[in-house]
């Protein structure tokens, strides 16, 4: 084999490794169809997508941070806070909707910015940092809401997001698709998107190459906070009920999806497309667990196993091709 062939072979391996998640998605989907033909019905499929919209939206934001080599564990708390905040501000009045949504987004972005500034200018590990902000935000949510479910969503809000276009496609599913498109656009078409990968791949080299590493870091975390707020709004729209703990634990689903999608904790690789595929694999797996009559708790076991397996597999791949 000549060197060129070797290189070509490696390129193939890399291509396969990079796109493995899509094959997995196809596989899981076929498995699902084999088990239940509900997975062939558009209504059911879009319901599944609607169901997973909050996690999917949050995962887009967290993907940015993880490409950078960071992580955002505070996203679950951000979802809870923005969701409760939104319901309280709406107070059952449609006139308040616009303000409530904008303010919720501002809060999400602000929390993300705080994370980003701390991540850029201190040496605290992002795990500890965002775990800390997550706990603090959880506390703030409790203080703000008085510890109970409060707030009433504005009339029309829930109906709008759950309206099924053509009787099939819920607006919430479209929102996920639209935000995915925005995420892909940011990743591929903006300078920031490219810089994310560069900083994530080698922060020291990025800095020496004149990249605005601090700015990129802050922006990535701010986006994660903002998408967290979008997710909070989506969650509120899906359930229609504000609950102070509604987002709790979602960060783990988000992380599972991102890691499954090929964005590793080391940074510098992965992307939104993989993440969304990861989200879909996860939700299909959950539904399969449900359909097979296993308890909800089993979902958690599946999820934990997936995080470990995916990390192990990607670790193997990068050890071989890195």
């Amino acid at each position: 084999m000549s060197t060129l062939d070797l290189l070509r072979n490696e390129a193939t391996t890399r291509f396969l490794a990079r796109n493995a998640i899509f094959a997995v998605l196809l596989l899981v989907f076929c498995l699902a169809v084999a088990i239940s033909d509900a997975f062939l019905q558009p209504l059911y499929i879009f319901n599944v997508v609607r169901q997973v919209a909050p996690v999917g939206i949050a995962a887009i934001g967290v993907t940015f941070v993880m490409i950078l080599g960071g992580v955002d564990l505070s996203v679950g708390a951000v979802i809870s806070l923005t969701s409760v905040f939104c319901a309280v501000q709406m107070g059952g009045d449609a006139d308040n909707t616009a303000f409530a949504l904008l303010a919720a987004c501002a809060i999400g972005a602000a929390i993300g910015t705080v994370n980003g500034i701390a991540a850029a200018f201190t040496r605290v590990s992002p795990f500890i940092l965002t775990l800390g902000t997550g706990i603090a935000v959880l506390g703030l949510t409790q203080i703000y809401s008085g510890g109970t479910a409060r707030g009433i969503v504005a009339p029309g809000f829930r109906e709008f997001f759950n309206f099924r276009i053509g009787g099939i496609v819920p607006v919430l599913a479209l929102a996920l698709a639209a935000l995915t498109a925005v995420g892909l656009l940011i990743q591929h078409k903006t300078i920031f998107g490219r810089q994310l990968f560069l900083v994530g791949s080698n922060r020291r080299a990025a800095n020496l190459s004149g990249l605005p590493t601090a700015r990129v870091t802050v922006l990535a975390y701010a986006l994660s906070g903002l998408f967290g707020a979008f997710a909070g709004i989506a969650l509120l729209a899906r359930s229609g009920v504000s609950n102070t703990l509604s987002g709790q634990g979602l960060e783990f689903q988000v992380l599972a999806a991102v890691v499954l999608g090929g964005t590793t904790f080391e940074g510098g690789r992965g992307g939104i497309a993989g993440t969304i595929a990861g989200v879909l694999v996860l939700v299909i797996a959950f539904n399969l667990v449900n359909i097979s009559g296993l308890p909800y708790a089993m979902q958690l076991v599946v999820m934990g196993t997936i995080i470990i397996l995916a990390s192990a597999v990607y670790g193997q791949i990068s050890a071989r091709s890195g």
């Binding site: 084999m1 390129a11 300078i191 080299a205 020496l208 990249l211 690789r269």
Partner: protein
């Protein structure tokens, strides 16, 4: 080779084949105790393969290795160590957080009660080892606090702790200053007196001639010759290695004088302030021993100042003091790192991403990228730098050192620099690529870029620079046009003897 005497190491018809590639083909080699035996050859000649076979890192496809007459087959590096072959690789494998003594005996620490490490015994054992071989190291120092040269001594100490008979050194001086190199040579000579066989793999032919007794030349996986170094010249060696003559292209491009006023750099270090001028079209070489502060200066100049290393730059009424590489780049000051792997390349990203990293804003429109333009710019630049790669989509980590360096130069050039600061631009790069990189730098200077080259290789500075400045204890202590520079003068100044010399000369 005495007749009737069994040499310590004897290799016969040793081969290593990979699918489609013959890395080593029927190599014979004998070397004896009390000998320093060098292995030289261009990149890809088979030096590393031979070394890996001897150290047990790979197993041969054919042929035989005999040690003291006994045929050996190594299951792995530890098997080779047990048979008395220890290797010090170019890249260290130390645990930075552990002490020198822990690193030397890692995994073989003396155990006390409860199976815990017996710190006192470990220390005593380490001190005994260090004293025996005259290695000046503090057994308790944490490895991360040591200089590269000291870390290398730790590696050597570890290799020696196996009580081996054969020590393989892979490019041992690549990371050393002249003084440290002398120290290493003294250690090697002592080991030779003690009856060890030292296999010395190196690119640096002058050193090879200085330290080795015999030298074996490999080319394209085959052994070309084994010669006594006595009476051998670098030119003759290069001729054997390449089958043609000519080491460095000696002729530096004639300096193009420009009307632009030069940059005046005032460098404040803890030891004082000294100055330097940089003019468009000129290549300035910075010489000095490791630890003289060359890299710290180069970084301070390009936006990585330390409280004890600040560069003020003035030109025609303007003055700058860069607080970040980004700020420096905006004024055209660009740094190319000496440590490609750690500070230079984005390993898993492709060539285009690596080449355009610094120029994304320049190539894009506002916050948006122009992917097509990025590709075209990278491709043009790399053609200009004569980079041959199977595809621009290949991750840079897969390229050779020389090609990685070309990509880094490309990255710098896409920012259209006015002052290019190259720190060890050809470290770890094979002879052919080295000459190409020199050519590139000459062309750049000719096109009006001011170039500062920091190099530990005096030969490189003499071949490349128009003017050489010498650093000693973080100050510029001497400056000379290349025509007046030579090894001796540079070494003297770098060792702190410059002032005396200049006084004697009456300047």
């Amino acid at each position: 080779m005495n007749h009737g005497h069994t040499p310590l190491l004897s290799v016969s018809a040793l081969s290593k084949r990979y699918p489609g590639v013959v890395a080593l083909n029927g190599v014979d080699l004998t070397a004896d105790a009390g000998e320093v035996h060098a292995l030289v050859g261009a990149n890809g000649a088979g030096k590393s393969t031979l070394m890996n076979l001897l150290s047990g890192a790979q197993s041969p496809s054919g042929g035989e290795i005999r040690i003291a007459g006994q045929s050996m087959q190594f299951a792995g590096p530890s098997a080779a160590q047990e048979q008395g072959i220890a290797t010090v690789y170019q890249e260290f494998s130390l645990v930075p957080q552990l002490s020198v003594s822990r690193n030397i005996y890692l995994g073989r620490e003396p155990k006390g009660a409860l199976g815990l490490i017996d710190g006192r015994a470990l220390r005593t054992q380490t001190i005994a080892l260090l004293e025996r071989f005259g290695l000046k190291l503090d057994p308790d120092a944490e490895v991360s606090t040591l200089s590269v040269a000291e870390q290398q001594l730790v590696e050597i100490a570890r290799a020696l702790s196996f009580e081996g008979r054969i020590l393989i050194l892979d490019e041992p001086t690549a990371v050393l200053s002249l003084a440290e190199q002398e120290n290493l040579f003294a250690i090697i000579r002592q080991l030779r007196r003690d009856g060890m066989l030292i296999l010395y793999v190196s690119h640096y032919l002058k050193e090879v001639l200085a330290i080795a007794d015999q030298v074996t030349v490999l080319r394209d996986g085959e052994k070309i010759a084994t010669r006594l170094t006595k009476g051998l010249t670098v030119d003759a060696l290069v001729e054997t290695m390449t089958g043609a003559s000519g080491a460095f292209d000696k002729a530096a491009a004639p300096r193009t004088m420009r009307d632009e006023p030069p940059y005046l750099v005032s460098y404040q270090a803890d030891t004082g302030t000294s100055t330097l001028t940089l003019a468009a079209g000129e290549i300035v070489g910075v010489a000095g021993l490791v630890g003289s502060g060359r890299t710290t200066f180069a970084k301070a100049l390009t936006g990585n100042p330390l409280p004890t290393a600040i560069a003020d730059i003035r030109r025609a009424g303007e003055s700058f003091r860069f607080a970040s590489p980004r700020a420096a780049m905006r004024e055209g000051f660009v740094y190319i790192t000496e440590d490609r792997k750690r500070d230079g390349i984005f390993t898993e990203l492709d060539i285009v991403a690596n080449a355009t990293a610094s120029a994304l804003n320049r190539l894009g429109r506002g916050p948006l990228r122009d992917v097509r333009r990025e590709k075209a710019a990278a491709s043009d630049m790399l053609t200009r730098l004569r980079l041959v790669a199977s595809s621009l989509g290949a991750p840079i980590g897969k390229l050779s050192g020389g090609n990685q360096q070309k990509v880094l130069i490309g990255r710098a050039l896409l920012t259209e620099p006015r002052v290019l600061v190259c720190d060890e631009p050809t470290r770890g790069i094979d002879v052919g690529a080295k000459a190409e990189i020199h050519e590139i730098l000459r062309d750049l200077a000719a096109s009006g870029v001011a170039i500062l080259v920091v190099s530990s290789e005096t030969e490189e500075l003499l071949a490349l620079a128009h003017r050489i400045v010498v650093m000693h204890e973080r100050c510029f202590v001497a400056e000379m046009p290349v025509e007046e520079a030579d090894d001796m003068r540079i070494l003297l100044a770098a060792s702190g003897g410059a002032e005396v010399m200049e006084k004697n000369n009456g300047n």
